[in-house]
Symmetry: D3
Subunit: 321 residues, 6 copies
């Protein structure tokens, strides 16, 4: 990829991820109807970038919107939500849509999101052009969240991470993987990662969930994920990373004991849900050893953080649980 | 009314309500003993304005205080709480008083508030001069909050909105109306509005409660109300509006699907209870088509927002649930 | 009253209340549709007795049914629930009806019950003949249960005990009194009795509620009530009694520290809700110094217990909290 | 089927299901290690019957055991739990197994059960002889319970009912259907039935779950299911029935508003979990118009109830929600 | 000890503990004021037995009473609770007393119990004659329950087991040991046993607590204890046993995976708290290889079970977690 | 003490405590591994100050670190946590350490903290030089927090305040005192202060806990403590003060009804746990009538507030509950 958004690491910064200096890059009121624009996904598209954005409107209805950008920082987001057509099913009911992820596999862009069908489950759709979208069967029974596809088939099958949940503000959550021959029927469910013991890594002791589409590195799949601790004043969401085995991605090779990013800026500590950083996408360039991590801040606006792929991988290996 | 506080709508602002530029107008420490001054009520009085203010002291005891202002923005609040005399009852016990509303009916000003009598219920008092106050029988059995009188009798009876509650941080709440021939005995209880379905209007899906005294318009009673959503990090209070039928005010003609005001400024997002905007009073001038909405911010300080009555009514009609 | 049901106290029995030897007198399946028949009310009527019975059907819908008996023990309960006509209101909506009480005042029989109107509140109706029933305005806003009328006006007004509640299996509850000039508008709400401290009387430390219509004695109003303790395996309901001042019935003169009846028989300890005895009616004869207490057992069937009025009064005076 | 267990309906019984006179047919201590034997499944096998039984041992570990009977009433249950071999997967981990169902499809007996894999999910196995058992991939991600296969393929695919759950004593639960081309990958998830409104059918207002393997009738699939109400003293499990469309079994044609069987006998009202009747299997004979419903009682022992298929179907049609 | 209560094991009984045939030996109403008599402790005394009994009165106040018996089965319990004199402290406040244990050390009988001092903690007293009782300092800060002394000093110090708790129906609980040089100051707190994993021994997966005073055997200290599982209908209490190292009793040598006694008789399954067997004392005779275990049943009455010491020890060794 | 950190009271400030103008004095990232540095303790040491600091690292593991300062404002905190050696015990296990307090008694500095041993309890250690630390027996059984030693023996014994807790975000908590002859065995537990009634002093109505080591004044021991109110958006921690009797410190002579310091600055209202001020140490100079209170802000960083000892004492006396 060329044109990946980037800022060099600030002097004296010793962290492996650092924030874009003009964060938040997308304001909560960036489109006329929006109450908040956050947990959103972007990919390279044509000579720039496209994305699928979670915009909650001022009735606080959750929906996903397409958007486009030349530089990955300044975005034009459609004012109307994505309208789905029938893909591999006629059953495209949806009470709400949120927290999208996007990845290109073979010939098209696949979108997954948290889809309201008698509670949250994982919705799937594809597009070729970010204009027409074709919705497929929900991957799983409710209740589920944070469904994230791998960007390639694995052993000939589509592979998806997800986090089984319940019907409320789920106070538990581990990451599982499931496989499908056809994006319609799913099975071979395996547990990938569970929450960490409080004594060892408290920021991820309450629940964890996959973040951006995994990035293939020499060490395996680099998976950014969010971890949650339940403080006496609510949930606090931070960002960590793990390395999964390339061919058997239910095997965790390394997993960061420290977080890589946690709420510390005012736009992360205040907003509709204070103390949340929630990553949903990562642009990356292996050639330049760069990555740009897009994350929702305080369930209100959208930020970007930068890092070197190699540094992140080394950090995870050297600080593994 | 003349002299209604006012600032014109900022350029580029597309909202129907906009904030006073010097908010908060009343600081948490505005009187010597106060920890916070918020959910409070104001009315035109003599050549200026009078009000009843919720001031929690530094022991965090909740009480109501009288105050006066020439311009509705700069307030002199008494340093001692209102002392009640016996009105239509000798039983004027009160463990605490909070969240007052004030309205003029016929010949006097009526104050309602959340009154501590074995738990929260609706206290009633009247005054002619904001110096002497006469407390009446509590309107209802505990547990109740957000008792709001209509500014005229309806079909010959006093009418009061309220929100039945429980004895804690009530996680539910709908708006009811009750009638009284004499401000002492209450009956004919009817349900007016219930919380909205999460999928349709999530900001008001957990509980709702009447705000300022309703304003009579050509379309019916304009009722500002607060709505609450339970996020994983606590309750978030926003402001909406509804139009009730003029003669049968338990009939809701329109009700805003989007909120009109929600916590977005730092003084609304941080404080003793973050993420709260809570309206308790609205000055209005039909002649000038203006209204000034007074609201508590973060249960800590007091703000004002402005709007055109006609725009608000149109917005509610055009964006009705 | 003549013909009050009666059995003499068993030898060696030292309790002030003793059970009918053939309890339960009404089986859960006594009418074809019933799942359970319990918390029910009876009064002298013509040359025998009439009653209003809570019969939950096999869909577990709660409703009230009229019934008749010659001896107060063997009952013919109608197979169809009571159908209400408009009394002092047209608004006779009801999602469910349960836990009736009945009393005669002046010229008619008044029934109160827990009425489903956006949650439980107190329904009121009257009848002259137990054939036609006329429903009136609900006394209070939801949420309320255990509304019990006094059998005479007090100081010229109707008086009703009730227990403010919430919208579920309320884990709290105290007894209040309210007054009405006209059975339509209610006010002058006073707290009568609160739960007892755990250390002093644990069987009534979680919630209490009025039982049968109070009985006027020389000492004042004899009020049987239920008290609840929350054990680690659920709520347990027992029966106590209090003496209220004749003219100021919000004043408690005496109140039993020990219970008078608690779940100990198999039909009280097992059933739809184990460990419940719940009194709703008491026939009494001052001439014969007898009372017959009707109570629901395990929310499943109906039992009777007997006692001497004088002994009960003495017991309460001598064992008062 | 011949030799279906049977007792004629008792005189005066007006219910559509009636209990075996010698219930419980299997005692909690029927095998040396057992603490309880309940929610269990039986099928015709050779010249008698075979079954898979939930036996919790005295460490209260949950496992499933094979058993055999000539008459369906007297059972020889193996003293050792079923040992699984690899079926369509090597991943046959299981922390616990409970609540089995069994059905014959095409050439073999399929067993489903609640399987402990990082929490409860649906385990699948097959056997030809009830001696060797071959475990397959879990159908779904955790958390799920009450997985019940249809006895034939539907539109060429296996079909399974299940109830998505959480990781504890789930206080919610609806019935869904999913399809699989191969008993390995599952999709096309549809909601079949949700809990009933409290006002309409309270016994099934908290959660519902499929019971025995559905029985094909002229009206469609006869599905017995359990429904739960949360009383103030715990959950109470009853039995109802529904008729699902033959070809589109996510369409509910009829559904019983009243329950068909509810806890009323002492062995159902007392035991390890009081007030539970939980059906897991139904032998049936269309020729004789008979069915024998096997159910767990109080999570402790096993009972049988009898009924006429035609009467049950008529009852459901005539008493439908 | 001579005269230990005893009945031979019933034929066909394969359990290591079996119930007294005339259980319960003490009825809930055995003294005039009692609502229930259960969790109680007995010891050899003079030519028979003495005991300290938990009798809750009909106000459900919890207190302890002395009692005496010739045969250990038929008991005379005082009608007045034990009155304490000052022992090693003047501070003998007590809101309530329950669940006593008794043991003889050196020259006197020591009683421990759950003592109400701003919540439950461990009370200590001694007596020489079961007539005069001398109360000492509470062993620990609240909140604590199930304090059980060893019958000899260990390494020169008094040793006490206890279960740290919270201020309600504690849903957690492990067994600790503490030491004291003087029965006044306590320290050297060590964890002895924690709850078992649900998958391995679910009957003891929620909380555990020491039962009778430990019995010294060749294998070490034989400790009966209660274990609790939280079912969807409440807590269920069973009895297990462990062998602790003789000199280092915080070391668990063996611990029973299966329970030894669990609620199965009607008087254990129904009562004020259904499904409880709770052991507080064990008479034993090494000469005769007998033990008689006293236990509370359903928090209502008192039962006895018998066993061979050697069989119990063997069972624990052979069925150890 | 000389060199106590100090800033004069700002003009117009009417509070008895005022904040350091450059707060927070210690940033959350002050050492390379830290996520937050807060609830920490300082004492005069050599010619400056030493301290023990709670630094949670970026894995959110809680530990205590030594640090040194010339002026009490600028601190050098070690980059490695304190490593303990065996003191009066070999058992120095610790899952985590947090919220230290430090005081000098006789010949050495004693540190107490919340120590993870099967849950939180009170750890004790001593040092002579802040280089070598010797860990002693935990004072109490779990669960306990906020253990604070008096700076002198009282009646010949060590005395410690603590707050019995449970194993989570304890929603209750009162202050107790215990005594020890030897820093190993503890007893004579007395209740000192309980939470205040909501109506009288709501900021301290949910839980309270001792803060810095008490300061001896002419009036008795000046104890700063934290108080907590549970708002609908989480716990809010404020600072109050009490005066305990010099010789019988379980006797409270005065106790502040208003708080002395409450969250009002942005660094107190936002952070990992918003709305927390939590005092753990107070430098003081009787000669200069000064004190410097160190407190954790928002569980994130460290602040200082100043006050006059005499003014604080007077305030507490004049505003006592």
């Amino acid at each position: 990829m060329k044109n990946i958004p980037w800022q060099d690491k600030p002097e004296n910064c010793t962290d492996v991820l650092w924030r874009h200096s003009e964060n938040p890059i997308i304001d909560r009121y960036a489109i006329p109807t929006s109450n908040s624009i956050f947990n959103s996904a972007v990919v390279p598209f044509e000579d720039g970038f496209a994305g699928v954005f979670r915009c909650d409107n001022k009735a606080v209805q959750m929906n996903i919107f397409a958007g486009f950008s030349k530089d990955g920082i300044n975005w034009d987001i459609n004012h109307e939500p994505i309208e789905m057509q029938a893909g591999n099913t006629q059953m495209i009911d949806s009470d709400y849509k949120y927290d999208p992820r996007v990845t290109f596999i073979e010939d098209r862009y696949w979108i997954t999101w948290c889809n309201g069908y008698h509670g949250p489950t994982i919705g799937i759709a594809y597009t070729f052009d970010f204009k027409e979208f074709f919705q497929c069967e929900n991957a799983f029974l409710p209740f589920n969240r944070n469904g994230v596809l791998f960007p390639t088939k694995i052993n000939g099958k589509y592979a998806m991470l997800s986090r089984p949940s319940d019907n409320g503000h789920t106070p538990f959550g581990d990451i599982y993987i499931s496989y499908s021959p056809d994006m319609k029927y799913w099975g071979e469910h395996r547990c990938v990662m569970k929450v960490a013991p409080f004594e060892q890594s408290a920021w991820q002791c309450t629940k964890i969930g996959a973040g951006p589409v995994p990035i293939l590195t020499d060490e395996g799949w680099l998976l950014f994920y969010h971890g949650v601790i339940a403080t006496c004043n609510g949930f606090r969401y931070s960002v960590g990373a793990a390395i999964l085995d390339k061919n058997e991605p239910d095997k965790v090779k390394y997993r960061s004991q420290p977080y890589l990013l946690a709420p510390a800026e005012l736009y992360e500590m205040t907003g509709d849900v204070p103390n949340v950083v929630f990553p949903c996408a990562a642009l990356h360039s292996h050639e330049e050893d760069k990555l740009a991590l897009y994350y929702g801040a305080a369930d209100t606006c959208t930020g970007v953080a930068y890092g070197k792929i190699s540094e992140v991988v080394d950090f995870v290996k050297n600080n593994s649980l």
